[in-house]
C-alpha cells in the first residue's frame, strides 16, 4: 500500500545520523570511548534501544506522520481504500476554506478556528495575571513551611479530573446555580444571568483547569532569583512595579514562556471545557474535529483539521518564543 512510504522517513533520518556518527568516530580516534552496547552490556543495551525505538517510532513519529498523510486522502469506505479512487488530494484542506457541499466560504469553521486561538490567548494572559502574584509571593516572601502547605493546597484540586471540575463550575454558574441564587437574593438582578450561554463559563472553565500549569513554572523560575537583587533595586529607589518589570520578569522569562506555552497549547487543544461549559452557539475548533470523527465519520477531514490546529499552535508558540528570545529547550524542563 502506498501509505507505508512514510516508514521511509524515520529510516532515512536514522541512517543519516548513524553515518554522521560513524564518520565522526573515525575522524577522532579515541580508544577510551565505548560503544553503547559495550557501556551497558549487550542484552541491556538492546533492550534500551528497543524500548526507545518503539516509543519514538511507533508511538510518536509514525502516528503523527501517518495522520498527516491520511489528511491528503479522500474519504472512502474501507473496501475502496488502496483502490483507484484512493489518490492524493488537497480536498480536505480546501474544505477548511470553502465548504464542499455549497461552494461558499466556510466562515463557520474559520471563525471557530480564530475564536479558539484568540480565546486561548486571552485565557493564557488571564492566568498569567492571576498566578504571577501568588508565584512571586511563594517564591520570595513565604517561609518554607508555608510554601509547602500552599503547594499541597494547589496540588489537591488538580487531581480531581477535568470533567468533574467542569461539572463543579457548571453547578456554580448555571441559571439555578449558587451564584445566580446569590445575585437574585441580593437584588442585583431579577432574572438569572446566563453565564454559560455568553461563554463566561467557558473562559472561567479554561482558566480554572490550567491554573497549576501556569503557577509551577513561574514559581520554579522566580524561586532561584537572588533576594539581594530585589533588595538592591529597592535600595536604589525603584518602585515595586519597576522591580518586577526590570528585575524579576526578565529573570523569570524562561518560566513565563514555559507556563504561557503550556497553558496556550492546552486551552487550544482542550475538549472538556468547551463541551460542558460552552454556550449552545459556541463552536470550539477541537469540538469540530471531534464531530468529524464521531458524527460525520470523516476521518481524513478530521485529520486535516487536526493538522491545521497543530501547525497553527506550533507556529504561534515558535513566534512567541522568538519574540521573547527564549529557546525551546529552556521552555520544557
Amino acid at each position: 500500500m502506498s501509505r507505508f512510504f512514510i516508514f521511509l522517513i524515520p529510516v532515512v533520518v536514522i541512517a543519516v545520523f548513524w553515518v554522521m556518527s560513524r564518520y565522526e568516530a573515525k575522524g577522532r580516534h579515541d580508544p577510551t570511548r565505548k560503544s553503547f552496547l559495550e557501556r551497558n552490556g549487550t542484552v541491556l543495551g538492546i533492550v534500551f534501544i528497543g524500548l526507545v525505538a518503539f516509543w519514538t517510532l511507533f508511538l510518536v513519529a509514525l502516528p503523527y506522520l501517518y495522520m498527516v498523510q491520511e489528511s491528503f486522502h479522500p474519504k472512502l469506505p474501507p473496501l475502496k481504500r488502496g483502490g483507484p479512487d484512493d489518490f492524493l488530494t488537497l480536498e480536505q484542506y480546501r474544505s477548511f476554506f470553502v465548504e464542499p457541499s455549497s461552494g461558499d466560504w466556510n466562515t463557520n469553521h474559520m471563525s471557530a478556528f480564530v475564536f479558539s486561538i484568540l480565546a486561548s490567548v486571552g485565557v493564557t494572559a488571564l492566568n498569567f495575571a492571576i498566578c504571577y502574584p501568588l508565584a512571586y509571593y511563594m517564591a520570595q516572601a513565604g517561609t518554607a513551611q508555608k510554601v509547602r502547605l500552599l503547594m499541597l493546597g494547589l496540588i489537591v484540586p488538580y487531581w480531581v479530573n477535568e470533567i468533574l471540575r467542569a461539572f463543579s463550575l457548571r453547578l456554580l454558574l448555571a441559571s439555578k446555580g449558587l451564584i445566580n441564587q446569590a445575585i437574585m437574593a441580593l437584588g442585583i438582578s431579577d432574572t438569572p444571568i446566563d453565564f454559560l450561554g455568553t461563554d463566561t463559563g467557558l473562559y472561567v472553565g479554561l482558566s480554572y483547569a490550567y491554573l497549576l500549569v501556569m503557577i509551577f513554572p513561574l514559581y520554579n523560575a522566580i524561586e532561584s532569583l537572588d533576594k539581594n537583587q530585589i533588595e538592591a533595586a529597592r535600595d536604589l529607589g525603584a518602585p515595586w512595579w519597576r522591580i518586577h518589570k526590570e528585575v524579576v520578569m526578565p529573570y523569570a522569562k524562561p518560566g513565563i514562556a514555559s507556563g504561557c506555552t503550556m497553558v496556550f497549547m492546552l486551552s487550544a487543544g482542550s475538549l472538556a471545557a468547551p463541551l460542558f461549559l460552552g454556550g449552545p452557539n459556541t463552536l470550539w475548533f477541537t469540538a469540530i474535529v471531534y464531530d468529524f470523527f464521531f458524527q460525520a465519520f470523516n476521518w481524513p477531514r478530521g485529520a486535516a483539521y487536526a493538522f491545521i490546529l497543530l501547525a497553527a499552535c506550533i507556529f504561534f508558540v515558535m513566534a512567541m518564543l522568538r519574540l521573547f528570545k527564549v529557546s525551546l529547550g529552556e521552555t520544557i524542563r
Binding site: 501509505r3 554522521m20 556518527s21 553503547f36 559495550e38 551497558n40 542484552v43 541491556l44 524500548l51 526507545v52 518503539f54 516509543w55 519514538t56 508511538l59 510518536v60 513519529a61 509514525l62 502516528p63 503523527y64 501517518y66 495522520m67 492571576i130 501568588l134 509571593y137 516572601a141 509547602r148 499541597l152 493546597g153 484540586p157 487531581w159 480531581v160 479530573n161 468533574l164 471540575r165 461539572f167 463543579s168 463550575l169 457548571r170 453547578l171 456554580l172 448555571a174 449558587l178 480554572y208 491554573l211 506555552t261 497549547m265 487550544a268 487543544g269 482542550s270 475538549l271 472538556a272 477541537t286 474535529v289 471531534y290 485529520a303 487536526a306 493538522f307 497543530l310 520544557i332 524542563r333
Partner: protein
C-alpha cells in the same frame, strides 16, 4: 509600619481569594452530594443523605469504566516507566549531534494537544493492526489503543522525572564499582537502579494518575469501550445528577488522604535526616576529641 501592615493584609487577602477560586467550586459540589434534591443543589440544604453514593455504587457503566481505567492505568505504568528509564539513559549517552533531534522527538508529545495524539493513534494503529486478521482480533481494542496513545506522552513525563534524578548521579560510584570488578549490567542493577528508585516510584505514581484522569486522548483511542472518565463525560453531557458530586467527594477524599500521608512521610524523613546530621556532628566532635588526645599522648 502601617503601610507594611496593609501590604501584608492585602497579600493575605489575595492568597485567600486565590484558594477560594480553587476550592470554592469543589466545596459547593461536595455539599450537593449530601443534599436530597434530584438537581445538585447546595442551598437550601433540605436533608442529609447518602443515597447518591449508593446510586453511584449501583451505576453499572461507571463501575465497568472504573475497572477499565485501572487496567489501562496499570498498563500505562508498565509501558511508560521502562520506556522513560531507557530513554533517559539513552539521552545521557547519545551521540551529541543527534541529541537535539532526539530531545525534540521525545518531548514533543508533552506539547502536542491530547486530541491530536488520540486521533493519530487510532488512524495509525487501525491500519497497522488491520494488516492481518489475527492482530486485528487480538489488539484492535479500545483498551490496547488507549494504553498506546496515553503512553506516548506519559512516557515523556517519566523521562523528565527520571532525567532530573539521573543528572545528579555521581559517576564516581560507577567507576568505583567497575574498578572493583563489577560488570556494566551489575552496575546498572545494583547501583544505578537503587539510586533511581525514588524517581521511578514517583514516575509510576504520576503515570497512573495522569492515565486515570486523561480525557482528550482517551475519548478517541477508547473506541467502543469506556473508562471512568469517558462515562463521566457522557453523564455530564446528558444532564446533572448529584451522583457525580458523590464521585468527586470520593476522589477528593482519596487525594486528601494521599496528601496527608505524603506530608507525614516528609516530616518523618526530615526528622530522620536532622537526627542523622546531629549524630554525624557528634561523631565528628568525638573524633576530634580522640585526635586531640592522641596528639597529647604523643
Amino acid at each position: 509600619m502601617s503601610s507594611k501592615f496593609v501590604m501584608k493584609g492585602m497579600i493575605g487577602f489575595y492568597v485567600f481569594l486565590f484558594f477560594a477560586y480553587l476550592f470554592g467550586p469543589l466545596l459547593v459540589m461536595s455539599i450537593t452530594a449530601f443534599n436530597t434534591p434530584n438537581y445538585p443543589q447546595a442551598y437550601p440544604f433540605e436533608a442529609f443523605t447518602f443515597d447518591w453514593f449508593v446510586k453511584l455504587w449501583n451505576h453499572r457503566a461507571m463501575m465497568e469504566g472504573l475497572h477499565n481505567s485501572i487496567i489501562i492505568g496499570v498498563g500505562v505504568v508498565a509501558v511508560s516507566v521502562p520506556i522513560g528509564l531507557a530513554a533517559s539513559i539513552v539521552m545521557n549517552q547519545i551521540y551529541h549531534r543527534a541529541r537535539g533531534l532526539y530531545y525534540l522527538v521525545t518531548v514533543s508529545p508533552v506539547l502536542t494537544p491530547g486530541v491530536i495524539i488520540g486521533i493519530s493513534t487510532v488512524i495509525f494503529w487501525k491500519d497497522m493492526m488491520g494488516l492481518t486478521d489475527v492482530t486485528k482480533g487480538l489488539f484492535y481494542k479500545g483498551i490496547v489503543l488507549t494504553i498506546l496513545g496515553q503512553s506516548s506522552f506519559i512516557a515523556a513525563y517519566c523521562l523528565l522525572i527520571i532525567m532530573a534524578r539521573l543528572q545528579r548521579f555521581d559517576r564516581a560510584q560507577e567507576e568505583a564499582a567497575l574498578d572493583l570488578g563489577a560488570s556494566y549490567p551489575q552496575v546498572f542493577w545494583h547501583i544505578l537502579l537503587p539510586f533511581l528508585k525514588p524517581a521511578l516510584i514517583s514516575a509510576a505514581v504520576i503515570a497512573f494518575l495522569s492515565s486515570f484522569e486523561n480525557y482528550n486522548t482517551t475519548t478517541f483511542a477508547i473506541l467502543a469501550d469506556k473508562t471512568l472518565v469517558t462515562v463521566l463525560a457522557g453523564e455530564v453531557r446528558q444532564g446533572t445528577t448529584p451522583a457525580l458530586s458523590a464521585l468527586a467527594v470520593i476522589i477528593i477524599g482519596f487525594t486528601l488522604v494521599g496528601a496527608i500521608i505524603y506530608e507525614i512521610m516528609r516530616r518523618r524523613e526530615e526528622r530522620v535526616a536532622a537526627d542523622r546530621a546531629r549524630a554525624a556532628r557528634e561523631a565528628e566532635r568525638q573524633d576530634l576529641g580522640a585526635g586531640a588526645l592522641a596528639v597529647q599522648a604523643a
